[in-house]
């Protein structure tokens, strides 16, 4: 199976570190055909241009293995819009927002101009969700209702304390997808039972998690071959293929 891992951080930051070589080695080991990469740490909150350039370079070099998501901190105002457009024009295919690292409340209007750009380009938006309290699933619902043309990916499914919110939120917005990293298999299972398989995508969040753990927990779920195909491959392809 040509698995797509929807969430990987690559590069060396103040906290995280995952080299390209190590990433490709892991992908090969666990049969991950492609993955969505985005920058780490300070490249998400302040050094956006540097972070995006790194991702752009990797995508150009390994275009058969990587999709790249851009980062752009909304506090940079007009500059953040320019930076996002620049990164998208150079081949990145999505936007990653991280309201905890970037310092705003996920539902705040400060992020709307960036989402407007995402909407114009037809790209998906990945949002980190979970504790702290400024990156919550119900805050993501507000964004999803304000920007109905955008497909949002609920990163980590509210892990951990906000797991209770995942299904109530997703049943209210067709344009929210769940990304499975860190979430427990029981929660993923009940989500699939309640809302079907069509809005669940596999993600590992390495180096913050282990690829083996993330792949194995999906295997526990006793999914049909067709369901696995959706979760590991085709749902991600749908999201990534929407760019105008």
């Amino acid at each position: 199976m040509n698995i797509i891992d929807f969430h990987v951080h690559v590069g060396r930051g103040s906290r995280k570190n995952l080299s390209t070589e190590r990433l490709i080695e892991l992908m090969d080991k666990y049969e991950i055909d492609k993955c969505v990469i985005c920058p780490v740490d300070e490249f998400i909150n302040v050094k956006n241009r540097e972070g995006n350039d790194y991702i752009i370079e990797l995508v150009q070099k390994y275009h058969k293995r990587f999709y790249g998501f851009a980062v752009s901190n909304p506090w940079f105002g007009r500059d953040s819009i320019d930076e996002l457009k620049r990164a998208l024009d150079k081949g990145l295919v999505g936007l990653k927002i991280h309201s905890i690292l970037q310092g705003f409340m996920l539902c705040e209007d400060i992020v709307d101009p960036l989402l407007q750009v995402a909407s114009e380009y037809g790209i998906p938006v990945y949002a980190h969700t979970g504790t702290m309290g400024n990156a919550l699933p119900f805050q993501l619902l507000e964004l999803a209702e304000r920007h109905k043309a955008i497909n949002f990916i609920m990163g980590h499914m509210g892990h951990s304390d906000f797991w209770y919110d995942v299904i109530p939120v997703m049943e209210r917005a067709e344009n929210i997808y769940a990304e499975t990293s860190h979430a427990g298999p029981d929660l993923i299972k009940s989500l699939i039972e309640k809302l079907g398989i069509d809005r669940v995508v596999f993600g590992s969040d390495i180096p913050e998690s282990k690829l083996s753990v993330e792949v194995n927990k999906i295997k526990l779920l006793d999914l049909s071959a067709e369901q696995r195909e959706c979760l590991f491959v085709s749902n991600a392809e749908t999201l990534l293929g929407s760019r105008k």
Partner: protein
């Protein structure tokens, strides 16, 4: 004339002596408060039926001044449904107070939805402690308002300090949400502007100490809002809600 929509009447809590009904009424008289809605404290754990009986007994002689709201525990769903019916039919109780993190339940749980449905049927008001992660964010509570558009729901603290952004989104979206004033003055001014002074209910959280009524009234008096809006917050909004 002032109505205080948020007080706690209890004899003792973890070794701390509560204010007596007479002491609360004395404070009310000194500050021009004609009525105070009072909740239990001890009832948020242990025997809630006994706590409701205690509160009803404590307020028995003063029902023109002290308006008791009952509480129940969603984790004991059958007992809760029966208790709500008893409080409404036998004692004319108009509302139910919840404290999700103290009581240990999520406001988006199935049990809470069942209670909300029952309260809706009986025309009772729901009041929540809100603003504290992970189980009582304003937008989580607003999910009840979404499912039961005729049910009157009060966010007791308007999101507390950090979650008023959620509160404002919640009241704008749901006409059946009301907001207690127990949060910062600048946030209150912003909220007041959004709602033109409607659906905001003065609440002091009286019962814990000597200063809460004065302190919270002072916040209201400090607001740069119209006289009419101030009167609505201090009296009119609560009066209409309690009389309907």
């Amino acid at each position: 004339m002032i109505i205080d929509f948020h007080g706690h009447l209890f004899t003792e809590w973890k070794g701390m002596k509560g204010m007596s009904p007479e002491e609360i009424i004395h404070d009310m008289d000194e500050n021009g408060v004609i009525r105070t809605v009072v909740f239990t404290l001890n009832g948020f754990w242990g025997d809630f039926r006994k706590a409701n009986d205690d509160l009803i007994k404590l307020t028995e002689q003063y029902r023109d001044r002290l308006i008791p709201f009952c509480t129940v525990h969603p984790n004991e769903i059958d007992k809760s449904i029966a208790e709500i019916t008893r409080c409404k039919n036998d004692f004319g109780i108009k509302g139910i107070k919840f404290h999700p993190w103290l009581q240990g339940f999520s406001v988006v749980s199935d049990e809470m939805l069942m209670i909300a449905e029952h309260a809706d049927r009986l025309g009772m008001i729901l009041v929540f402690h809100d603003g504290t992660p992970p189980y009582c964010e304003p937008l989580q509570i607003a999910n009840l308002a979404y499912h039961f558009p005729n049910l009157k729901i009060v966010l007791g603290h308007g999101g507390l300090k950090d979650y008023y952004i959620e509160s404002i989104l919640a009241v704008k979206k749901h006409k059946n949400i009301y907001i207690g004033t127990n949060f910062s003055a600048p946030a209150l001014e912003r909220l007041c502007k959004e709602l033109n002074g409607s659906r905001i209910l003065f609440g002091s959280d009286i019962g814990f100490g000597a200063f809460s009524l004065k302190y919270n009234l002072d916040i209201i008096h400090s607001l740069s809002i119209s006289k009419q809006q101030k009167e609505n917050i201090l009296f009119g909004n609560s009066f209409s809600l309690l009389e309907n």
